[in-house]
């Protein structure tokens, strides 16, 4: 299938997804997407050509187009030929599929969702949105080196978004609960607890105080610490950023960049939301250690970046028929041995809980996140509820400022955006206590 290119690969992605939106216990909409797409990538020298279509009868045209594009850019601006890293030898792990999402009727799912929605409808709540999504995706990969691999994956879950209002105040809280698996995700009793927690948070924020501003000792809960390790550390470990000089971790392999005790993995074989059997280049996915006891050990690689920098490929992912790029799967910090009570005992600082999102400048190693809520802690006692509390600073300062690691590793789910593509990811962490960090709030 080379069409004159040095290397050609084809992915065919078939998917069927259904979404149900329940708002204030009413079914807002039900939608189904039935899609098929094909993507061809061709390499000529050091140049990639890429062509995609939603008509499988046009695959041969796509192959010619991709090869032609690669030829043309290689002729206009030749790059040194790429040495793609070889395929590592791993056993494929495919989780699930769990309880078949097709086995329950839409009506049954709606009842489950309304029940979840009901758990959020408490006093002072003005609006509750529960968005459910399920998908079945089948991917077939083949290339001109004779590699043929495929897998099927079922994912499902929901998000809850609550707005609370009282006397002119308006506050919100949200949480997602997505996973690799089927209907059991929706049936999980924990789903209802999440819905109630989100509502309670939104209502309590109405009366919460504005966060103080300045440098404080901070304690991050599992969710926020998970977002931190994904955003601030994980993105800087992506080898495309490293190669472009767009990562604060460039040239740091083997150096101590975090406190002793901090060990970080990317593990696509775990059955969380970021689970992936085979990446977008046909590489069987496997776990990779990024930080070992404070020392930077590895970056995340595509076949191209692994060929240039050394390392193992398996982290090249694509949303649908897009170009595969270096991405995380399930990134997590290994748990330590301190209970939350031990982390809080005699401690004074700001405890940040939940995530409202964050972003990062990998080149400068700067990050910024907003917590769903915060607490002021004085000598181990929670004194104030805080809102609009954000955390920012330098990634490496936080990593080397970790002075306490909880024994309560938990994963949460999210969609990570990069270069316009969104992919399912899991982020995990225990509670983390950090010496000092910049908290943004009101002066």
């Amino acid at each position: 299938m080379s069409d004159g290119a040095d290397f050609t690969e084809l992915r065919i992605i078939s998917s069927r997804s259904t979404g149900i939106k329940v708002e204030d216990n009413e079914v807002r909409d039900i939608s189904t997407q039935i899609d098929v797409e094909a993507a061809v990538r061709a390499l000529v020298g050091g140049s990639w050509g890429f062509s995609s279509t939603d008509n499988l009868e046009e695959i041969e045209r796509c192959k010619r187009d991709a090869a032609e594009l690669a030829y043309r850019i290689n002729r206009i601006q030749p790059r040194p030929p790429l040495e793609l890293a070889p395929y590592p030898d791993h056993r494929m792990v495919v989780h699930g599929p769990g309880e078949d999402i097709g086995s329950a009727s839409l009506t049954d799912k709606i009842e489950l969702l309304k029940d979840i929605c009901q758990h959020s409808m408490i006093t002072s709540v003005a609006n509750v949105r529960v968005n459910y999504a399920e998908s079945n995706v089948e991917v077939e990969y083949s290339n001109s080196d004779g590699i043929n691999r495929g897998y099927k994956l079922q994912r499902s879950g929901f998000s809850v978004r609550v707005v609370a209002r009282e006397q002119g105040e308006i506050q919100r809280a949200s949480r997602s609960f997505f996973n690799t698996g089927g209907l059991e995700v929706l049936r999980d009793p924990g789903a209802r607890e999440i819905a109630r927690d989100v509502a309670t948070t939104a209502v309590e924020l109405l009366k919460a105080k504005s966060a103080p501003a300045g440098t404080f000792p901070v304690l991050l809960d599992n969710v926020l610490a998970g977002v931190f390790i994904h955003e601030a550390m994980g993105h800087a470990c992506e080898a495309d950023a490293v190669l472009e000089g767009n990562s604060v971790l460039t040239d740091r392999l083997g150096e101590t960049i975090a406190s002793p005790g901090v060990t970080v993995y990317d593990d696509p074989t775990k059955g969380f939301f970021g689970h992936l059997p085979v990446d977008g280049e046909g590489v069987v996915c496997a776990p990779h250690m990024l930080i070992e006891n404070g020392v930077l050990r590895n970056f995340l690689h595509s076949r191209e970046t692994a060929g240039i920098l050394g390392g193992e490929p398996g982290n090249s992912r694509a949303e649908g028929a897009n170009r595969p790029i270096v991405r995380m799967t399930n990134v997590y910090i290994e748990q330590g041995d301190m209970s939350l009570e031990e982390l809080m005992e005699g401690w004074t600082g700001i405890y940040l809980v939940g995530s409202r999102g964050g972003s990062v400048d990998t080149a400068q190693g700067l990050f910024q996140f907003n917590a769903q809520r915060g607490y002021r802690v004085d000598n181990g006692q929670i004194t104030d509820n805080l809102r609009d509390v954000s955390l920012s600073g330098k990634t490496l300062d936080i990593l080397s400022g970790v002075e306490g690691i909880g024994n309560d590793l938990e994963f949460s789910s999210g969609r990570c955006g990069k270069q316009g593509q969104g992919v399912a990811v899991g982020s995990g962490s225990p509670h983390l206590r950090v010496m000092n960090a910049l908290v943004g709030g009101v002066l």
Binding site: E37, I73, A126, N246, G358, Q368
Partner: protein
């Protein structure tokens, strides 16, 4: 899927024959070309052709929806949409489909030069960006991109409407870094309907911003004037204003402006319009994505809130009429209320003049964490500079901004003549007083 218009017609026909009371298909066909560089070398070129449709049907009184790009699955999609509609029966949110085929004429939405760009011209554009960066000493390209999109959209429904309209979009983007001990980055992008972007200038501008931002010291703390560049303006205001004027959010109690018609929300010299007819605007089209004629909507006049934006569904709930703001992210999505081309109409003056002490901010880190309901924000400034007595001075780093977007809107003290197209917002430079600046200095 050949002939997206014909496929839409076929989907509507099948839906009606399978028992729908009404049906509407929205189809899209597009050719997308994208060139990327890894640092200063072009390493990737892509061409993509996409088509598909989304079908809304009602069996009785509620809508169901399904989409597909697979011609063999039309009947499957029709059945799924009908099932969704039947299950939702009783919700009674069906507001009828558009029937008016007299649409306003719009200008500058489809550029033939964009539609016919050769790959080599696309590569030339991205190389111009790189030469622009390289013309500035001390900066280097991390990545850059050129993309162009030529699309045609269709809308057909069982009321007999058959519309089609087309457009083009060109985008250039460049990210570069500068600095020796500590690297700083800067990003610029340009969006237009035509290929008339100054790519060299864009690269040069990103490079200058990176070089100028290098060596930033810890910033000051205090309550001060903040000068927002167009990118920062869009990042702060777009999401919050979108939620505030969204008729559906108003109905659902999610908009902070829900009960504020006639009240002061901006300085009395500021008027805000959402103009879907603006020549060449990225949100400009003869109709919205459910076929309602486009128009210009006054949101804020002389500082006072005038009205909200609606789809047919949100208008029905609020006992008003659609404002032509039903927009779909793609044919795979249902339409929802979206601004088209948001613009300030007001007195213009250089925001830097008369700024005694403040901070100039080009970009923000974490803008998506802004609370879209309450307007509260606490975010990090990027490419920020001290301003004293109307002059831009040294760069600062690690500075956070906090405050409330609704307060910030009321506290705008100057708006520049210059505007930049940031998608659906025409973003000027603005000076805002009273922002909390939290630095470490």
């Amino acid at each position: 899927m050949h002939g997206t218009g014909e496929t839409c017609t076929e989907a509507v026909r099948q839906a009606m024959s399978l028992g729908a009371k009404a049906a509407e298909a929205f189809g899209a066909r597009g050719r997308y070309v994208n060139i990327e560089t890894q640092m200063s070398e072009v390493d990737f070129a892509r061409e993509e052709i996409k088509h598909g449709f989304g079908l809304r049907v009602t069996a009785k009184d509620a809508l169901g929806f399904a989409s597909t790009n697979n011609r063999e699955k039309i009947t499957d999609a029709v059945q799924q949409a009908l099932e969704g509609s039947r299950i939702r029966s009783g919700v009674n949110d069906f507001a009828g489909f558009a029937s008016d085929d007299k649409l306003p004429e719009v200008k500058g939405t489809w550029n033939p030069r964009t539609a016919n760009l050769e790959i080599s011209e696309c590569i030339d554009s991205v190389q111009s960006v790189i030469h622009g960066v390289e013309s500035v000493k001390g900066a280097r390209v991390v990545s850059s991109m050129f993309s162009c999109y030529d699309y045609e959209q269709y809308l057909g429904n069982s009321v007999g409407l058959n519309l089609s309209w087309k457009g083009t979009v060109v985008m250039g983007m460049c990210e570069c870094v500068a600095g020796e001990e500590e690297t700083v980055s800067a990003m610029e992008f340009e969006l237009s309907r035509g290929p008339d972007i100054d790519f060299h200038g864009m690269g040069e501008s990103a490079a200058r911003l990176a070089v100028d931002s290098a060596g930033g010291e810890h910033g000051p703390s205090g309550v001060m004037d903040v000068l927002l560049a167009p990118m920062a303006f869009e990042e702060i205001f777009e999401g919050v204003l979108q939620t505030a004027v969204d008729g559906d959010a108003v109905f659902r109690g999610r908009s902070a402006w829900a009960d504020m018609i006639g009240e002061t929300v901006a300085p009395d010299w500021v008027t805000i319009v959402d103009d879907a007819l603006m020549p060449g605007g990225l949100g400009t089209a003869p109709c919205d994505d459910e076929g309602m004629p486009s128009r210009s909507n006054m949101l804020v006049r002389d500082g006072k809130l005038q009205g909200f934006l609606h789809t047919r569904e949100s208008a029905k709930k609020m006992s008003t009429v659609s404002t032509g703001n039903a927009i779909r992210d793609s044919y795979r999505q249902l339409p929802k209320v979206e601004i088209r081309n948001l613009r300030l109409e007001c007195r213009r003056e250089p925001p830097l003049e008369g700024c005694e002490r403040g901070l100039m901010v080009h970009d923000l880190i974490g803008a998506h964490t802004i609370n879209h309901q309450s307007g509260d924000f606490s975010i990090q400034a990027s490419n920020a500079f001290i301003v004293r007595r109307g002059e831009v001075e040294n760069p600062v780093s690690g500075v956070m901004l906090s405050g409330n977007v609704f307060d910030a809107l009321k506290n705008i003290t100057a708006v520049s003549e210059e505007e930049k197209c940031m998608g659906n917002v025409m973003a000027p430079w603005v000076r805002v007083k009273g922002i909390n600046v939290v630095g470490r200095g």
